[in-house]
Every structure is written in C-alpha cells, then in structure tokens.
C-alpha cells in the first residue's frame, strides 16, 4: 500500500505536482494517467525519494522510502530506459544493484532471462536499443522480487510483442497480490491493463476511480446498423420512435437500444442488414475531455491543417464512433486530439 498525502512539488514557480493525495492498493494494476508534463514522472521520483517534495509526503506500508532497508526488496522501479552505466555489461549493471541490497547473484541471470536479455547479458548496455534498455530497466525492477512495482511508461520503445509481454507481466504480478503502479499517456493502453485509474493534469488529481467505473461513466455505447434498404429501415425506426443518426458510409447509429431489439425489429419487417454491431465510444476521448483544460503542450497545426488524429491504437475494441464525440469541447481548436477526432475519420 502506497499513500500519497498532499504531495506537492514546485520547480521555481512552476507547480509540477499539486496537492496530490491518493492510495495505491495491492493486488491490482493502478494506471497513472496524464498528458505530457502532467507530473507523473515527478510524482514517481518523489515516491522513490529521488526528488524532495516541496510539501506533503509519501508512505510505503507506512514508512518513508529512505527508512526502508534494502528497498529493492520492497519496491522495484523502472523510471527511465537510460538509467544504467553504458560502459558496463547488462549483467554487471544488475550485479551492482543486487549486491547493494544483498540480493543473491543468481537472481541476476533469472531476471535477465525473464526479460529476454540472456543472449546480450555480457554486452555493454550502451549498444542497447530503446526497447532493450527498457527491458533492462524492467529487469532491475524485478531484481529484488518486490511487492511493489512501479513503471514509468514501460511500453515506450517496445515492439508489439514486447508490449504484449509487459501487459501480461503486469497482470500476472498483480494477480500474485503485488502492487503495480504504471504510468502512461495512453488511455487505450490502460484500458487493457489497469484495474484502477488515477488521472492527473497539471499536477492535480482529476480522477481516482476503478477502471470499470471509468468505462461505465465515460463510454457511450450505441448500435451501428447498415442496410441496403436504408430508407425503409429509417421509416421503421421512426415509426417505433427510435432516433437514428446517419453517420456517412450508409451507416446509422442508434443510442439506447440493444442489438437484440433492433435485429428482431428488422426481421419482423424483413429488412436485410449488412451490419448490426454494438459499439463503444473511445475511452481516449473521454480521457482527453477530462484533461483538456490541463493539457499544457498543445500541438499547433500549421497553415490551418487539421491537427493529427488520435489513434489508431492497439486497443481496437474501443472503437471510436464515426463523427465527433458527443460533447467534445468546442472552443479549443488546437487541443491535440479532441478537435482532430472528426477530421481523422476519413478512410
């Protein structure tokens, strides 16, 4: 159990983390979400006592990090892919860490095997690719077989196979009863791994909720219909008092009706359907709406070109609805994603 209590960090007059209070519980993956510069990495550094908080505190099972003896056996952390001496081999980098916390040397080979770096164990780590560096960092986090694991953007630089692997690793570790705290700026990634969600923007807590609740509250579900007899279909729906919105490509979107009811309705009127599917609005959009006011580093589009569209992400199951999200913030034309969601829909 990790407790943050009024954690605040100021760099000069810039407030990077602002009165952050929350708990991170064992036995689950807690996602730590926020846009660039939200203060995720700073918070994690304070948790490891690397940065001194301006005020507030972090307790790990009631203790301050500095009072842990052999902390690698309590908490393993991956902060940065670049946090090892490049002139030293992967094996020796891990060996130094193991020795400082009296972890048996046999663990070094074990964790190198776990992350798939056995073949390059004796190679100098400066030649490692970003993904290999990330794996080495994960190996160092696992070294002490700790009850708490903290990963700062672990998927950064990993290939799809690696992403899949780290996702399963985190779930497996959580299933063993460990505390997993993982940061990301991708909601879609969190939707696949996290059980609980802590969202921050400009250092402030925006949401502290279970993943299920977040999905429940933030995803609009609707049914998509496509039919060669669209005119008849619309008439039938209209007669039943069902509101259908046309969304281009000859598809209709219907809120608040089940696929079963609509399928039976079409069958009763012998209307041919080419598509009948239930859809969900992208959680990414919900996340962006939540943090829209606190995004600091907007992408500014050049010469009136549309801002880059969001996605596609690996989390295909969270299909974005055609057209812009309901209630998408109107004013902020530059805000990276929400403005772009409509234009990105082309193909």
């Amino acid at each position: 159990m990790i407790e943050l209590d009024g954690l605040t960090k100021r760099f000069g007059n810039k407030v990077a983390v602002d009165q952050l209070s929350c708990r991170i519980s064992p036995g689950m993956v807690t996602g730590f979400l926020g846009p660039n510069g939200a203060g995720k990495s700073t918070t994690m550094r304070m948790m490891l006592d690397l940065d001194n908080p301006t005020s507030g505190s972090v307790r790990i099972d009631g203790k301050h990090y500095r009072d842990l003896s052999e902390p690698l056996k309590y908490i393993g952390a991956l902060l940065d892919a670049k946090s090892m001496h490049g002139g030293r081999s992967a094996y020796n980098n891990l060996l130094c860490l193991a020795q400082s916390n009296r972890i048996p040397e046999s663990r070094v080979a074990e964790v190198l095997d776990t992350v798939g770096l056995t073949a390059v164990a004796k190679k100098k780590s400066k030649g490692f690719s970003l993904g290999m560096g990330q794996r080495l960092g994960i190996a160092s986090a696992l070294l002490g077989d700790p009850e708490i694991l903290m990963f700062d953007e672990p998927v950064n630089g990993l290939d799809p196979e690696g992403i899949h692997w780290i996702r399963n690793l985190m779930k497996a570790l959580a299933a063993e009863g460990r505390t997993i705290f993982v940061s990301s700026h991708l909601m879609s990634e969190m939707a696949l791994t996290a059980d609980h969600l802590i969202v921050i923007g400009q250092g402030r807590l925006l949401a502290d909720t279970s993943m299920a609740d977040f999905i429940h509250q933030n995803s609009r579900s609707y049914v998509r219909l496509r039919s060669p007899q669209q005119e008849r279909l619309r008439d039938v729906l209209h007669a039943e008092g069902i509101v259908a919105v046309e969304s281009g490509n000859g598809t209709l979107e219907i809120d608040g009706a089940t696929t079963e009811a609509l399928g039976e309705l079409a069958a009763r009127h012998t209307i041919v359907l080419h598509e009948l599917s239930s859809q969900r609005a992208s959680l990414e959009e919900a996340f962006m709406q939540m943090t829209a006011d606190s995004v600091e580093y907007h992408a500014h589009s050049e010469r009136g070109a549309a801002p880059p569209p969001v996605g596609p992400h690996w989390g295909d199951q969270w299909n974005r609805p055609p057209g812009s999200a309901p209630g998408a913030p109107g004013g902020s034309g530059g805000s990276g994603g929400s403005g772009g969601s409509g234009t990105g829909q082309g193909a």
């Binding site: 550094r45 490891l48 052999e70 690698l72 946090s83 009296r102």
Partner: protein, 259 residues
Amino acid sequence: MASVPAVLTSEWTKIRTVSSTTWTLISAFAVTVAMSAALCAVMNSQFDDLSDAERATFDPTFISFSGMILGQLAMVVFGVLVVGTEYSSGMIRTSLAAVPQRATFLFSKMLVAGVLALVVGMVTSFVSFFLGQALLGDHRIGIGEDNVLRAVFGAGLYMGLIAIFSMGVAAMLRSSMLSLGILMPFFFLVSQILSAVPGAKSVAQYFPDQAGSKIMQVVPDAMNSDPAPYGPWAGLLIMVAWVAASVFGGFLVLKKRDA
C-alpha cells in the same frame, strides 16, 4: 538502513567493471614512472650544468616524483569519472533508489575508489622512487636516509588525495565534463603558472597540489623552489583540508538536491 559492507561490495563491482578504471589508473602509474625516470636520467647527465643554488638544494627524492605533475591528471580523471558517470549515464537514480541513504552511498563510493587510488598511488610512488634513484647514479639517495621514506609514502598519499579531491568536485558539479574542464587546466596550468607569478605566489602555495607536494620534498625548498611558510606535514594537512571541504561539499549537494 542499508548494510555498509553490501554497499561497499556493490561500489567495488561498479569500479572494477568499467574500463575507465583500468586505463586511468594504468596511465597514472605509467606516466608518472616514465616521466620521472626520464627526468632523473636527464638530471644525472646534466648535473654539472645546474646553477649553484639548484645544486645546493638538489633533492633526489623529489626529482624522482617529478612525473606526478602529469600523472596526477590521470588520477583526476579517475576520481571525476567514478562519481561523474553516475550522473552522465543516469545511473545515479538507479543507484539512489537502491541505496537511498545518500551519505552511505557517497562515502562508500569514495572509500572504495579512494583506497584503490591510494594503493595505485603508493605503488606508483615506490616504483618511481626506486627507478629514479637507479637512474640518478652518484646523486642518488637511499630510502633509509632521514625523511626519505616519509616523502615516498607522502607521494603515494598525494596521488590518492588528488583522486578523492576530484571525486568531491565531481559530486558538487554533478558532471564529468564540467569537472574535468575545471580541474585539468587548474592542476596543469593555473596552479603551476600562478605559483611562478610573483604576486600570486603567496596565494598559490595554499592550493591543494602546491601545499600537498611539500610532503614529497626531503630537502627544504627543494630545487631552489620558493620557501613555504609551512613544513611538509602542515602542507599535507592543508591538502587534507581541501579534500575534506570538497568531499563535504559534494555530500551537501547530493543530500540537498534532487537526483
């Protein structure tokens, strides 16, 4: 609390598993011994060309350490890299996450690296002394003479202290490049030049290298150098004070600042 022997073991592994340790320490040894030997040979052949004052204060012991002017620079590099690469590689965060007690971390590192530098310094000074004496011919001195063993021992100590001083500076500046950029010109040029400039002399003789090098002299004001207002042991003490200040400064920076 972290176990100190465990941290010492870890720091020893860090030092022995990077190549910079080997090449800096071998350079410190080789450069000092080679340059000292060359100067001893030159002195031997040109002894008669020396001025009367130089002949009167001829110090065969001190001459056999003359290569340290260059060799100490390799010790500076060793000391700076031991601490500085923690910062340049980003390793410092990993290291402090493993050993959050910053005093334990820094002093263990300095202890391990300092002892190693001291051992290499001692070997260097003894080899340098005996080789130098062998090349000095009739002008040589034996290790059993008054104060000679003190000077040879002191020369080894000097090398070790230079390395520890550099570690402190690197811990204060948190950068290898910056530390080397300041220390190398300082020890090689600034200190040497200022000690020859009439007005600056009186200040320069309190610099760590100037004060510390007095321990290597057996003849007072060796080779007609300027008389210092302190003896060899007081000179060494001045150097130790510099080293202590640099180590303490490094510790304060590590303790206070975000990693």
